[in-house]
């Protein structure tokens, strides 16, 4: 159980789609202030309806939802929509292939997706027939284990009844047919996409093996099996966990005598179908998977740990302690932590000397930026600001971990215009940011470190070392950003740099 999920329920499968994050939890994506004022703002709940006068592109929940399911092995993803929806696969298919290689998963098939190519006629008559043809084509050409259909805005608005069709096809073909309702316009929080994806997964893909009473009981074998099962844990990966992260976290859990299964991204459909068979489900990011873990608890009784994100020493320790407590391994975990932190602290010394006193700004997913900020703080750096894409109950306890409670907070999905004005004043020595943000910051002359990456290790003790090493390396030569700032222009009028970027946020009337 978790304090973070107190009061939340997860019985939504009778509905076609998962509820949006705005309906399910209090959340906010437009707020400007400091750690202190954010805490107050969240307390009164007034910030959840804030909006912007000038807005820039955030994300689409369809991409996040399909980002999860398209990583499954031997599946075909169908995007029910016009040709633009899901077109980002063109840029991502290659990185997917690299990720499969890095994660030592089969690479025998390409990432396959199909778009139903809805046109203006379909907007009037509906696109169900095209969807049927696409599903049958996928089955015939690829014989996948699952065909997963992402519903986009157009069918969502015109009211295509995809579930009736897909239920009908589910019984006719060998592949599992899984609808995902992830229409972009439904939610301003892209994290809704995680719930949308897992809603479909939970509905159609989770099938525990039926167990029968043994005809010939064997006490020794049975108790062995029971013991083994009591030690199996599911470690839930997310789109931004690298293989290095998975190896490191598995290493630590294995040291506590646990048997770790890393799920569900890059897993086979068979592995996902048995997701309910574990003694404990362990999350590394509440923003990603509380919907999945909460539901598994309600349906199968599997306990879960949703606590912190194991980035940095403090948070890795905390994460391990909560897990160990569940298995009554409090003493053992302290032993593990003692050995690990002693070795790590020694290894970090040379980097601390370099990083001490330097300032850092972190932007990206809420739990990731606070924990990454805390790590750099523990290395002697000053966290001068944070830009969470959204902010909700899952990250509230993390506010306290920032030493300077007057550090700037800009809750903003993307919105580089606001962020760049803030950074032009704070002038941090280092920026750590989400993909698609770092190039803008470079144009401001600030060196950057990516907040995540499939070929880097960020989590656990080895991740802390890697992050320290990375920051120190980046600061060894900052020529690129210094050259760029004097040669490449940002697209703003001078007046924007003189304004208060938070005036851009429209406070909702309570």
């Amino acid at each position: 159980m978790s304090k973070l999920t107190e009061g939340l329920t997860y019985d939504y499968l009778s509905a076609e789609a998962a509820p949006t994050r705005e309906a399910r939890i209090e959340t906010c994506n437009a707020f400007g202030g400091s750690c202190n004022s954010l805490r107050t703002g969240m307390g009164t709940g007034c910030s959840k309806n804030n909006s912007r006068k000038f807005a820039q592109g955030g994300g689409c929940q369809l991409n996040l939802a399909l980002g999860i399911v398209s990583s499954f092995q031997n599946v075909v993803v169908i995007i029910h929509g016009p040709l633009g929806c899901g077109s980002n696969n063109l840029g991502r298919a290659g990185t997917r292939k690299t990720a499969r290689i890095l994660k030592q998963r089969p690479t025998t098939t390409d990432t396959i997706w199909i778009q139903t190519n809805l046109d203006d006629t379909d907007v009037i008559t509906g696109g169900i027939e095209k969807l049927r043809q696409a599903v049958l084509y996928a089955e015939q050409e690829y014989r996948p284990d699952a065909i997963i259909i992402g519903n986009s805005c157009v069918p969502g608005i015109i009211g295509d009844d995809i579930d009736t069709l897909l239920n009908e096809l589910d019984g006719q073909i060998a592949a599992k047919v899984v609808p995902i309702h992830c229409e972009g316009f439904k939610s301003k929080y892209v994290a809704t996409g995680y719930d949308s994806a897992y809603h479909g997964v939970l509905k159609k893909m989770v099938e525990p093996i039926q167990r029968y009473e043994k005809a010939l009981p064997n006490e020794l074998a049975d108790s062995n099996e029971k013991y083994r099962h009591s030690k199996i844990v599911n470690l839930f990966n997310v789109g931004s966990t690298s293989y290095g992260d998975e190896v490191e976290l598995s290493r630590l859990l294995t040291a506590l005598g646990l048997e770790v299964r890393v799920l569900p991204l890059y897993s086979s459909v068979e592995e996902i179908s048995r997701i309910s068979e574990a003694a404990l489900n362990i999350s590394i990011c509440a923003t990603h998977d509380d919907y999945l873990l909460g539901h598994l608890k309600e349906r199968f009784g599997t306990e879960y740990i949703i606590d912190t994100l194991p980035i940095g020493i403090k948070n890795t320790n905390q994460w391990l302690r909560v897990i160990a407590k569940f298995f009554k391994l409090e003493k053992e975990v302290e032993k593990l932590i003692a050995i690990e932190t002693a070795q790590l602290e020694e290894a970090l010394e040379p980097f601390k000397k370099v990083l001490k006193g330097k300032s850092v700004f972190v932007g990206g997913g809420e739990t990731r930026i606070f924990t990454t900020g805390e790590l750099y703080q523990s290395l002697g750096m000053r966290v001068v600001g944070l830009k969470p894409h959204n902010f909700d109950r899952f990250a509230i306890p993390m506010i306290d971990s920032i030493d300077d409670q007057e550090a700037v907070i800009d809750v903003a999905p993307g919105q580089p215009a606001e962020e760049l004005v803030i950074l032009s004043r704070l002038k941090p020595d280092l920026y750590v940011g989400h993909a698609q943000a770092n190039a803008w910051i470079t144009k401001l002359g600030i060196p950057t470190v990516p907040l995540f990456g499939q070929s880097f290790n960020y989590m656990g003790y080895s991740g802390a070392f890697e992050l320290a090493r990375k920051a120190a390396r980046v600061l060894k030569n900052t020529s690129l950003s210094r050259k760029i700032v004097s040669n490449v222009a940002l697209p703003f009028r001078p007046i924007w740099f003189e304004s208060n970027p938070f005036d851009n946020i429209k406070e909702a009337k309570v």
């Binding site: 006068k53 000038f54 016009p82 929806c85 077109s87 063109l90 199909i114 969807l131 805005c153 190039a439």
Partner: protein
């Protein structure tokens, strides 16, 4: 009726509009749609077009109204108006351009009307309807450029005989668009021809306003840019012709002769330029003769491309490089008549063998078409295999090349295993670059 497409090598009309606007000098799109459209579609090209990146105001920087469910119910025109006003206030651009997504078009927002009502002496704001369901990226390219031709380009009664406008090279969808434009411009300049290119080096919105004095539009495509060319014809009385993208020596000769003839340039002048270019070209081609002939680098060519690239690329491989054009698989969604017309082009090839030409929308069918194009191996003792082969396509074809045991170079969108800056494949110079890249692919494991 259109059909589903497996791994379409395009985005939607909105995606095409965004990538076109982002490629125009200091132009900024204002996207009236849900929050994800702008970033996703721009992001597709930022990565898949040889890592061309966000540029001046692309990617997450794109201003957008971020319509949500509430706006779908009550209409999003007010939100759009607010977004336009604030974009002009904050973002420094020479042209602002409102483009629309599916959501707002289905509910009937009048984005063009809202834009026209917006008046500001300091800012030029245009608009076009570009919902994804209108069709593929090329539709968005046409929507943007035809609006510019109709509403931004000033009418001029006097035409300059030696000025032409180039269309058909679609930014993003043509990964090498800037390099390709640059070389075409260089060649034309040598004949005293000024080229209006929209996206080339040194273009400005101010220059685009003055495109009305061109005497000819040259569309380097049989399918894309035609709609805009017709607007230039109707509103500015500028006629248009189509021509093949001049990739390499043979196609450049044909291109310059065609343009020269049309503009009344003496054939001798064209020949003199071509002779100069040819001399330069072969002084470098000479370098690869040893390795080409000693290692027998002639290949069976398998081409997977769109109609802009398919024929010019095949012609380069067959006519310039001396390869055997075996099969050409084209993925454009065009009607049967256009397919027939396009197929006829391949009769021009100088090679003794002419390729099989197939139109296929589904990316996954390429391997099947190649297999069907050659006698099946029945485990014969003596088998004349389709080998050595080389596949030129997009990055999606990497695994097909691997399965065929063929060499491979991605030249067509999407390209994710190469970074492309100012490289281009047009002209004699582009022919050298393409030769360099192909031979490099053949020796890259050494």
């Amino acid at each position: 009726m259109s059909t589903f497409i497996e791994r379409a090598k395009v985005t939607c009309a909105l995606g095409g509009a965004i990538v076109t606007l982002s490629a125009l000098p200091k132009a900024v799109p204002i996207v009236h749609a849900s929050g994800g459209c702008a970033g996703t579609l721009s992001g597709t090209y930022n990565l898949a077009s040889g890592y061309k990146g966000s540029g001046y105001c692309g990617g997450t920087m794109i201003p957008t109204s971020n319509i949500v469910e509430n706006d779908i119910v009550f209409g999003g025109e007010e939100r759009l108006e607010e977004q336009i006003i604030n974009t002009v206030k904050i973002i420094d651009a020479d042209l602002y351009f409102v483009v629309t997504g599916c959501q707002v078009e289905i509910i009937g927002d009048d984005a063009v009307g809202v834009t026209h009502r917006y008046k500001d002496d300091k800012a030029t704001v245009l608009a076009a309807n570009t919902p994804g369901f209108l069709g593929d990226s090329f539709k968005g390219y046409e929507a943007v450029l035809s609006t510019i031709a109709a509403e931004l380009v000033e009418k001029k009664d006097v035409k300059d005989k030696k000025t032409i406008t180039i269309l058909g090279i679609v930014p993003g969808q043509d990964v090498f668009y800037r390099g390709n434009i640059r070389e075409i411009e260089r060649l034309l300049n040598q004949l005293g021809i000024k080229a209006n290119t929209f996206f080339g080096d040194g273009e400005t919105i101010e220059k685009i306003r003055n495109y009305g004095d061109a005497s000819l539009t040259v569309v380097l495509s049989e399918n894309y840019g035609i709609e805009t060319a017709r607007v230039f014809e109707q509103i500015h009385q500028i006629p248009y012709i189509t021509a093949d993208l001049p990739i390499g020596a043979s196609r450049t000769d044909a291109f310059l002769h065609k343009i020269g003839e049309r503009l009344g340039i003496e054939p001798a002048e064209i020949e003199a330029l071509l002779a100069k270019e040819r001399k330069y070209y072969y002084s470098y081609i000479e370098r690869i003769l040893d390795i080409y002939t000693d290692l027998d680098f002639q290949r069976y060519a398998i081409i997977s491309a769109d109609t802009n690239y398919a024929f010019p690329l095949t012609s380069f491989l067959a006519d310039d490089l001396g390869w055997i054009p075996h099969i050409v698989v084209i993925h454009d969604d065009i009607d049967d008549l256009r397919k027939k017309e396009y197929e006829l082009k391949f009769k021009q090839l100088g090679s003794e063998t002419k390729p099989k030409v197939v139109f296929e929308l589904q990316a996954g069918q390429l391997l099947n078409h190649v297999r069907k194009s050659w006698k099946y191996n029945q485990n014969d003792k003596y088998f004349d295999a389709l080998s050595p082969a080389f596949l030129v396509g997009s990055s999606l074809e990497a695994s097909v090349a691997q399965k065929l045991g063929a060499g491979f170079l991605p030249v067509v969108f999407p390209i994710t295993n190469r970074a492309v800056l100012d490289r281009g494949y047009t002209g004699y110079k582009g022919g050298l670059t393409l030769t360099e890249d192909i031979i490099s692919a053949l020796v890259s494991d050494r």
